[in-house]
Symmetry: C2
Subunit: 196 residues, 2 copies
Amino acid sequence: MHGEREVVVLRLGHRPGRDDRMTTHIGLTARALGADRVLFVGDANQSARTVRDITDRFGGPFSAEVIEAYRPLIRDWEGSVVHLTMYGERVEDVEGEIRTAHAEEPLLIVVGSEKVPFEVYEHADWNVGVTNQPHSEVAALAVFLDRLFEGRELDREWEDADREVIPKAVGKRVVEAESGPPDDAPGDATPDSTDE
Amino acid sequence: MHGEREVVVLRLGHRPGRDDRMTTHIGLTARALGADRVLFVGDANQSARTVRDITDRFGGPFSAEVIEAYRPLIRDWEGSVVHLTMYGERVEDVEGEIRTAHAEEPLLIVVGSEKVPFEVYEHADWNVGVTNQPHSEVAALAVFLDRLFEGRELDREWEDADREVIPKAVGKRVVEAESGPPDDAPGDATPDSTDE
């Protein structure tokens, strides 16, 4: 986020087709909850396009990139590396240390899938479990980011948005960002989650 | 969770095949982060089976059920209803009120998908946005539960588990719950996330 050290989310183990929605949701969650960039490994162009499209419409800065090889990135990362895994240390035990580290240097958050090579565990400064239960890499990333930023990500301002959702007790209100008339639409005009 | 009012997650809009993984991840996130039950609407038997299988192995109490009709459930719910939607009020503004309500009565959390009927917005006591950005219903549910329980869900104890993951700085350690020898396996023996 603006004024803070960079936070980058690296999504490992994307399987084209099968993982498209999960990978897209990881990218959108990274964007919505305060990360600066998401990196997908391999053939994840469809997910990257969807995340960029949302950024074009709802604002940034945020970037989604597809890379070929993640090992050099992790090895050469100039900052701290966190790997989210149900086998790791309890998030509540290590989040303070990680926040302290992030105050000083950029943070790479590695989000795996089924099989993460052991070298990722070894290279990580922290292997972190958001619970030691099997659930969802999207959920783990979301809780981790909310705790990392201690809720500051919810106040993030968005630049260069075409549209903006105005919080509403009942119904939906979407306005053109900065200018233009409100479009007050209680109905089901716009999807709540993105679906590719 | 034990000693608290019941928290039930209702997942609307499941499309068989297409949504199986998202629906499963919602169920597993509900379980891991402190809810007591998840209800899926329609043909979501595969997701319910996966969630029950994880509960059998990693412990409970937690139940996953498939229901036919959600309208009577929302209408007749004896407690508060929260609907998670990117169009809703900001979670940071309403979470205190919701915690106060949950101290007194059960809480139903409705998690939608693409199109949620307007009557759900009207019946909800709170429509809540975990950010007003498009991202992921799994991420929204995760952050909401972590904030609802203020982290208490991370200390939850599990009953009747076959196995237990022991937090570890590097690698993986899974033991038989309560008895049996440890199975210390630094490698990729067990999936980090569940995949059906």
